[in-house]
């Protein structure tokens, strides 16, 4: 973001960035359409059903059929709703979720870094934007002017704020090892570690998941809670609150909520990939594997994390609300706080980086 000398320069700079952003978002949304199908297929397979298999070969076009169906339906706005906030809420959710992708580096090669904005506080940006996701939920729940949505919104506000704390501490442990808040630096730092210090070639043993295995587990569970995924989907627990904050929504506003939710989940998968699974680095840095472009590894790793999200959704029963709060505040918070102290001590006195 150098100082722009002329109007022409800054316009070209703007056009390039808009083009890159559009390319990233298009790719992201198409991938998400298929991840959504994967989610439903995995869920169906665990329950010994077939899942979506009618639209297109193997149901491959199901997500697009759903998109068209949502878009052409009538948006119903309840009479008692606060109209402006009611319509702003799904937009806020979707925009915040997509905005997080500005700083996520998907690869790096001789052309440079594959990232829209190489912010040197990238991790904090992700934390900030993901903490904004809660507003869509609260606004939607309140503006619906209805009991169940409001209950759902209150639950989600408490839940998302609670789990952000432990996610924050988990990220701090990674940052202590890396010594930078830049996402690209975090991945680069994973090029050497336990494996290379034992004399092996750079491999998956160097990534942070091995050094910080307990933190990776806490991150994964907190990410489930942060994105309101099962087993922590008390915000939209259908047995208690119908559909929670989304009860009154229909058509495109509902679509935007769903989209925002899935983008947030994929963002968490990407963040987990960058923090713990070595981003775009190949599993083993030897000949056939490191010819594969980095972005392929990145997508494979993120998809693997998403697969785990989908499996958890399929076979873990929903938590009770007080157990959810207990887990967040009484288990994860002390554990992650302790981990920050231990990792800081090791980095300071053990000389391990």
């Amino acid at each position: 973001m150098a100082e722009q000398s002329t109007l022409w320069d800054s316009l070209i700079w703007l056009a390039i960035n808009v083009g890159l952003s559009l390319a990233l978002l298009t790719g992201l949304l198409i991938i998400i359409a298929y991840l959504l199908l994967l989610d439903r297929k995995v869920w169906a397979a665990v329950q010994m059903r077939k899942g979506p298999n009618v639209v297109g070969p193997w149901g491959l076009l199901q997500s697009f059929a759903d998109l068209i169906k949502f878009a052409v339906k009538e948006p119903v706005i309840p009479a008692g709703a606060n109209k402006g906030v009611f319509l702003l809420a799904p937009l806020a959710t979707a925009v915040c979720a997509l905005a997080a992708w500005a700083v996520i580096p998907v690869s790096e090669n001789s052309w440079g870094k594959w990232v829209i904005s190489d912010l040197n506080v990238g991790v904090l940006y992700i934390l900030a934007i993901s903490s904004l996701g809660v507003y869509g939920v609260i606004m939607g729940g309140w503006a619906s002017n209805s009991k169940y949505p409001f209950m759902g919104a209150l639950r989600s506000a408490a839940q998302m704020v609670s789990y952000e704390v432990s996610i924050g501490f988990v990220i701090i442990t990674v940052l202590l090892l890396v010594g930078s808040l830049n996402m690209t630096e975090i991945v680069r730092a994973q090029a050497d570690g336990i494996g290379t210090s034992a004399g092996l070639p750079a491999s998956f043993l160097d990534w942070h998941w091995l050094v910080l295995l307990p933190m990776f587990v806490i991150f994964f569970i907190s990410a489930l809670a942060e994105t309101n995924r099962p087993p922590f989907d008390l915000v939209e627990a259908e047995s208690e609150l119908v559909a929670g904050f989304m009860v009154e929504y229909s058509s495109t506003p509902y679509l935007l909520f769903m989209l925002g939710e899935y983008v947030a989940i994929v963002t968490m998968c990407a963040l987990g990939t960058i923090l713990f699974l070595g981003g775009w680095l190949p599993p083993v840095d030897i000949a056939p594997l490191n010819w594969v472009p980095g972005i392929v590894w990145f997508i494979l790793k993120a998809t693997f994390l998403f697969f785990m999200f989908a499996m958890v959704k399929a076979f873990v029963p929903r938590y009770r609300y007080d157990q959810l709060m207990r887990l967040g505040w009484k288990v994860f918070l002390p554990l992650s706080l302790l981990a920050v102290v231990v990792v800081a001590a090791v980095v300071q006195f053990g000389g391990v980086t």
Partner: protein, 210 residues
């Protein structure tokens, strides 16, 4: 060029939404405008090159404090007619406070323009221009200002303990779940074999001891 454009965008939006905070009739709308104000302030921080402060502003104020504000405002049953009736009575005090702040700002601006302020700011972190501002803040916060930092932390801790002391109450007769006790349960402790006489009732041993 672009920077200037963004400055005016953020500045105008910040002032407009700050005005809307006090003008909006619906308190929830007012809080939402407050959030927009925070957001634009964060944008201004980024333009100043203080991206760390900008992100902290969004994480702390927008992500946590304003959520609680919104929470409270949505839950409270505020009587707006009564609130507005007090507006004329409170206006002189409000104007006085606003006037004092204006005078202070003018004084600050005049002394700053005279060269008092700019020399003080770089003196806080000398010789670290090559570092990112996250590192610069970290270096002075944990060395030169470590006692102030710890003292601020202590104040927050005391406030937290105080809030817990004020609101915590142990109610008698409430059955609480003890997950450790549940997990420690074995068939030996959880099961009890009782010989029931024909026509008699099952009396658990815990009841029988009373």
């Amino acid at each position: 060029m672009l920077t200037a454009g963004f400055f005016y965008l953020f500045a105008v939006l910040a002032i407009a939404s700050a005005t809307m905070v006090i003008v909006a009739r619906n308190p929830v709308h007012a809080v939402l405008f407050l959030i927009l104000t925070f957001f634009n302030a964060a944008g201004l921080f980024i333009l100043l090159g203080a991206e760390f402060l900008a992100m902290l502003l969004v994480i702390v104020y927008v992500g946590a404090v304003a959520v609680l504000f919104l929470f409270v405002v949505m839950m409270l049953d505020v009587d707006f007619a009564e609130l507005r009736a007090g507006f004329i009575n409170n206006a002189p005090v409000g104007l006085l406070v606003a006037g004092i702040v204006l005078v202070e700002l003018i004084a600050l601006f005049v002394s700053g323009a005279a060269g008092g302020l700019p020399s003080a700011i770089p003196a806080a972190a000398p010789g670290t221009e090559a570092l990112s501002n996250t590192e610069q803040i970290g270096r002075v916060l944990y060395t030169k200002y470590v006692y102030f930092f710890q003292a601020a932390g202590l104040v927050l801790l005391v406030a937290m303990v105080g809030a817990i002391v004020l609101t915590l109450r142990h109610r008698e007769g409430v059955k609480r779940q003890s997950i450790a006790a549940q997990n420690a349960r074995t068939p030996a402790t959880g099961l009890e074999m009782v010989k029931v006489a024909s026509g008699g009732a099952v009396v658990p041993s815990s009841e029988a001891k009373r």
